[in-house]
Amino acid sequence: MIRLLNRQGVSVFAVVSAMLFCCNSTQASSTSEWTAPDQEAAKEFAALPVELIVNIKDESPYERSLRLLDQGLSIKDMPSHYFLLDSPIIKKQEDRYGPVRFMHAKHARLVRDCAVCHHYRPEDPAVKEINRCSACHQDAFDPRVVDRTGLKAAYHLQCMECHREMAKGPLSCTGCHDKKIPDHVKLIKLVDKPEPSQVTEECLRCHENQGRDMLKTAHWLWRGPSTHTVGRSKEIEIGKGTIAFNNY
């Protein structure tokens, strides 16, 4: 790290962080200008409170599949192609990862059998045949429904077991989730008008390993020309690995 700091007294990290901030700001400004309508709808849907269905019909998965087939339910009956798995039920206990973007239609087309996921129907005949996950799976360890997992476990068990069986789809945490990145505005402690090296030092306070890794990448070791990036071609002709300062 010392090497990183000393080298020419300027920092690569400042660039990275500047880029990060830059991205954030463009993102922020872009959301105010334009939003994906299905994302907004999904957000609203995810936040809707759901009443718990306590009693379910006792039937085998096979019976269930057959009955859904008999009713002629198909992909066309899907109310939504896209869900954001971002329930307040889960966030109540733990909130470490970002929401999961779930391509409902894609999964439905691959699996074809609705009963694989929508594995039980409510006992009450007045309730509709197929319900969202959180209609049955809510809080973990709810004494009203002792044999039923909570929503978080229901998602993980259903998704991961199927992904494993099919040898398809992500199994790691960040395969589905964005890691919830804490608000860095609150974490970063810098003096007014910091030197670039101070910025680097501050980043390294938490991201020491990343700093070490950075020193081994082409971003740091590049010795070839770097004048081809439009708008960033500040006459660095023989690469950062030789003489370059930060390419602001």
């Binding site: 973990a140 004494p143 002792v146 997992t149 991961m160």
Partner: protein, 302 residues
Amino acid sequence: MKLNRRNFFKLAGVAGAGALATGAKTAEAWESKAPKDPFGCLVDLSRCVGCRKCEQGCNEVNKLLPPERPFVDMLLLNEKRRPDANSYTVVNRYFTGKSDEQDHLLPTYVKIQCMHCQDPACVSACLVGALTKKESGAVHYDVSKCIGCRYCMVACPFEIPAYEYFDPLTPRVRKCTFCFERIEKEGGVPACAAICPVEAITFGKRSSLLDQARTRMKKDPARYIDHIYGEHEVGGTSWLYLSDVEFNKVDFQDLPSEPIPKLPETIQHSLFSYLWSPIALFGVLSVVMANAKSKKNKEDES
């Protein structure tokens, strides 16, 4: 004076005999002191994905020191770890030969923590009562009473209590607290159970967990082996385990179903309740001593 003393000896002898009688009567059968309706946790090894989030949640809630290697470092699973003074729970990985259709070996992950026995050996052992079994099921450690003798560590059949060996004056015994402050609140859940992404840890009343375990085994008999670890082991534990592999393959011990404190407590109480035996012995010895003395006095006189 001499007469008085003789009288006292007689009295002592009678008292001793009396104590003997009461002692014999009070040495009744040992009774379990287990709470009637404790909480527990059911760990389903077939569900655990080895993410070590329980370790992380435990560390944060109990305000333990940050670990040397971060919780996302899965290389730690290459070694077998034990809970220690700074980690109340650890997850170990085993390859037991179980494999999937593509012949990939499948891991089994085992979370280890205090089992919170129904009749804990450590509680029976602790001479100052620093360890207690709460009604909630938690085996609670009160540092203000502890003298640091480590007898609890000798007693624990699961080898759970850990010790701060490098603290010169105020070392503590460290072990899972069952998040007793959380679970004793309405709706409270232990940190590990709350954070577990797959509900490999189910929290609830122990009786209900046993039912749930049986339901799961009945629903999917091919998935589970027919044994709820902790149902009977050492008289029952608040933490229970369900598994898809034989327990002895993943370092669980075969333990007797007798509560561990039963034998030593039975011995202690049948010998020493109301101090009957020491009093009786004292009485008998006083009589013997007085007799010997009077005999000697007579000899001296003659």
